[in-house]
Symmetry: C2
């Protein structure tokens, strides 16, 4: 079921829960009704799209396409699935021929077009367009929504955290313990990385997807030590920067050196002894990866001096410490204070690199916290982000939907008292129009059989519902947004690109869009328009289906 990413190849993982039976029961009852009515093989086309960007923003990063296609590739009901369905009360009266049909069902007659994974996607534009026998495609709906909705949501959230942290900051995903079960956590790790995070704490995500992993120690490691006398492993061999002590070459006793430096600071027996012990133990185990959590007892009065004493002990052994993590308190103030102490020690010891030790901050960080930290001034280099990233607290679901747009060759619509919930009928093509500066200006939906707009020509672009809103665009470049990703039972090469490649594409997509579309406060909407033919088609189908209410 699981395969390793290995060699920079594509992420291979499809969890054991991604399977044909993982669907809403109504897909199966509809399939039975279609089957009994003899229309289960009717040609149909469905589109997966969302109506509004999440988080009050004006962009969404599409994610989950590769996983969705893997699901379609492997879609089959097992004998056990069929036995379960046969026993289900709602289906007990279904004929044997229906279960035989279900058992033989595959996706060899399904064709899928999709936007590229990592694309900036806009409302109402098809993210996936799935054509095939109506009952078969209907049976794909729920799992496809499940795979695309959360993936795109958390990927977009990750991009927003990255933008809020600002350039040059590193973001680390720490969400495993707060995600919706194990697979929620893996999805969070995978798609946060796609959205711009640098690494994850999740070891399994590292193994499965080739994501860089990070981690040092918890508070419990610190509290497990009571006194410096408890540390057994205290010596390290001299490292790359050479010993500062007389006996060149012989291992350095970190405990002796740390106690020496604590005494030199005038803090002998004034910092927490268990914490100092834990730091010595950790430094002995990771002499070139010494990064410690400094807030277990008291950040500035115990954590920082204990860290610096051990960092200097490592320095004596020709090693350079990495840094500290703050996990509570006022992160702006504490990070500045910690940096100030680093600078003091760097100056006193004539070790300028100490000034630049890494400060990682964690503890319930959300986008407003990042924006506020940036406005206050701080000295943080990296953020560890868990709960708010993986739960997408600001908006925990993307409202992606899967709608029938064509059946038996006829365009279909779903009306609604809420105009926003009306669907755009018919199988559609989608294009992104760019102007000479290289900037995309709008996405255009047309009937699939309409000729694509051409660069250099005037293209009338209309709002799908509001008659008054139209604009003429002369595009310097026209990019078709949908490409075939699955046909004749096979994925098209390229859809399962390596995750790092998809990530680079996502970052290049964000770079294309104007800053005012991406900003946090009152972002400028980017338009999704329709061609005049599409506009006329909407009205035709609408008139055909709408009832005129009669009020008495």
């Amino acid at each position: 079921v699981m395969a390793t990413a290995g060699g920079g190849g594509p992420p291979e993982h499809v969890s054991s829960q991604v399977c044909a039976l993982h669907t809403d029961l109504y897909q199966v009852t509809m399939a039975l009704a279609y089957f009994l009515d003899g229309r289960h093989e009717t040609d149909a086309c469905f589109e997966l799209f969302f109506r509004r960007h999440p988080f009050g923003g004006e962009f969404t990063l599409l994610a989950g396409v590769s996983e969705a296609v893997r699901f379609i590739e492997t879609f089959r009901f097992t004998a056990g699935d069929l036995a379960y369905l046969r026993a289900e009360p709602a289906l007990r009266h279904a004929p044997a021929a229906f279960f035989a049909w279900l058992g033989a069902l595959d996706t060899s007659r399904v064709t899928v077009h999709a936007m590229r994974e990592g694309s900036v996607a806009m409302p109402r534009c098809p993210l996936l367009r799935i054509a095939g026998p109506i009952a078969t495609v209907q049976l794909l709906e729920t799992q496809l929504l499940n795979l695309v909705n959360y993936a795109s949501l958390v990927c977009t959230n990750a991009a927003r955290f990255t933008l809020a942290a600002g350039p040059g900051k590193e973001l680390l995903e720490f969400g495993l313990r707060r995600a919706q079960g194990p697979d929620g956590a893996l999805s969070a790790s995978r798609y946060s990385y796609l959205g711009g995070f640098s690494a994850s704490s999740n070891v399994l995500a590292g193994r499965l997807f080739g994501i860089p992993i990070r981690g040092t120690h918890a508070h419990s490691f610190v509290t497990s030590y009571g006194d410096v006398g408890e540390v057994a492993n205290v010596t390290v061999p001299v490292g790359p920067h050479g010993s500062r002590l007389g006996a060149e070459g012989s291992p350095v006793n970190l405990r002796d050196r740390a106690l020496h430096h604590i005494a030199a600071m005038g803090l002998e027996a004034r910092t927490n002894a268990g914490e100092l012990a834990a730091f010595i133990s950790y430094a002995a185990a990771f002499p070139d990866g010494f990064l410690t959590l400094i807030d277990t007892y008291d950040t500035l009065h115990s954590g920082v001096p204990n860290f610096l004493a051990v960092a200097l002990a490592l320095r004596d052994a020709g090693r350079r410490a990495v840094g500290v993590r703050l996990d509570s308190g006022d992160l702006a103030y504490l990070s500045r204070e910690v940096r100030r102490r680093f600078r003091e020690v760097a100056a006193r010891e004539r070790e300028p690199w100490i000034s630049d030790l890494t400060i990682v901050a964690s503890n319930d960080i959300d986008v407003p916290t990042l924006l506020s930290l940036a406005s206050q001034g701080h000295a943080i280099d990296a953020y560890g982000i868990g709960t708010h990233l993986v739960t997408c607290r600001e908006q925990p679901a993307l409202g992606g939907v899967f709608k029938l747009v064509e059946a038996g060759g006829t365009a279909r619509i779903k009306l609604s008292q809420d105009m926003d919930k009306m669907t755009l009928p018919g199988r559609k093509a989608a294009y992104r129009l760019y102007i000479a500066s290289g900037e995309p200006v709008l996405d255009l939906l047309t009937p699939d059989d309409e000729a694509p707009p051409r660069p250099g020509e005037s293209v009338l672009c209309r709002h799908p519902f509001d008659e008054a809103k139209q604009v003429i665009v002369v595009a310097s470049r026209v990019e078709p947004l949908l490409a075939c990703v699955f046909a004749s039972g096979r994925a098209v090469p390229g859809v399962h690109a390596p995750l790092a490649e998809m990530r680079a594409f996502a970052m290049s997509q964000l770079a294309l869009f104007r800053e005012d579309h991406l900003r946090f406060l009152n972002p400028t909407p980017y338009k999704t328009s329709v061609s005049p033919k599409m506009y006329a088609k909407i009205r035709d189908v609408w008139r055909r289906e709408a009832q005129i209410a009669e009020i008495r």
Copy 2:
């Protein structure tokens, strides 16, 4: 990897993502530091608890214990895991003996105590208490938090929805498409059922956990039909209530009868013909399970008359329709209007059962919506709830933590500037004290080696931090809250009870607690107190570890 629930037995499912490697990297780096320091086998005790109830409430239902114990039972690193870890840059310098130790590691020396799954749980009280070699237990932390946090959160959320809907209403979980990936959805289905939901739309959850499943059709089923002439499957044999037509025994043509009833209502060609076709097709496929979505085009002017015409056609065939689902609009108003029309037709046709047809409501329902519906008056019998249930939008994470309370026989504490984040040191026992009415009055934490409080005796119960707050309780019953669930490598019988049994226990737990603890507005807090011995121990350890800050 997956097993079927089968025969009312325990839910067997542990997903393929529940495994030793699914942890934060820092658990492995800490293990290495402990290993190199020779203290990896030190006896330690950790407690898993939360600090605050979710959703602004005053109760939490504990869930995930059975899955957590399954994880502990099967905990092993595989050869592939070890190969991955050996290649990880942070661990590349670790000695071969470390990986050999990891490869041989199991949980045979780990002992777990837990509260019973489905219990009402209170802040700071250990939900799980895990004792064993420090590095081993530390390696369990992340996956345990992942399994218990979301399970308890969504179970509690489900219970809140159930309470808000009020007695006699049925709640259906429809969250698969909006959950955090496939396993998030399965967890949501499993633990919503535990928290009081009746059924789920999720077929795989039905198969794996034995949860009842529900579903009828989507809007796409309706929009896929254009006209009544398209329906091929239109006849149903006469059912249990006997034919209303002359020719007793011969199958009834639902299309003819539905068109007859539409005409009798004076609505010929006034309702949407595709919708009527879809309803006829669905009724022919499910003559005894006819429940349709009535808002595709226009709820009152098309959906309701079309439904009633087909319901009457089914009645002509001796069948009784089930009801309708509303998925948009003003649910209070529409449900009352639909009920009024049901009553009118029931009276006119002298079919009183039509008055009582089921009205299911869905569409972005949250707890405030349910409370508002109840205050407005409505005619809804059942709710389909998705997004807000599974994402727990009101609070998408339970802050469950896993803290070291004892190492090498010494009680441990984590201090914090935030009093709320201080841990209670030492291995603890927990008791629930009941008064004569049968009502629980408080939970009491004591050192594990203190004699349990006895019924009929005065027990002094103190606030853990606030010296002024204390109360004397004379309990009529004392219930120990923690029981051994795993020891010597085996789960204790009973921990993997059937889900339906756990659900019944959860419901009985909610029934025990006073209504004012469970209510939505300003619920009364229920106390977690400590014994005087526990109180003294907290202060001893606190004094031992705290630094006295010096301000210059």
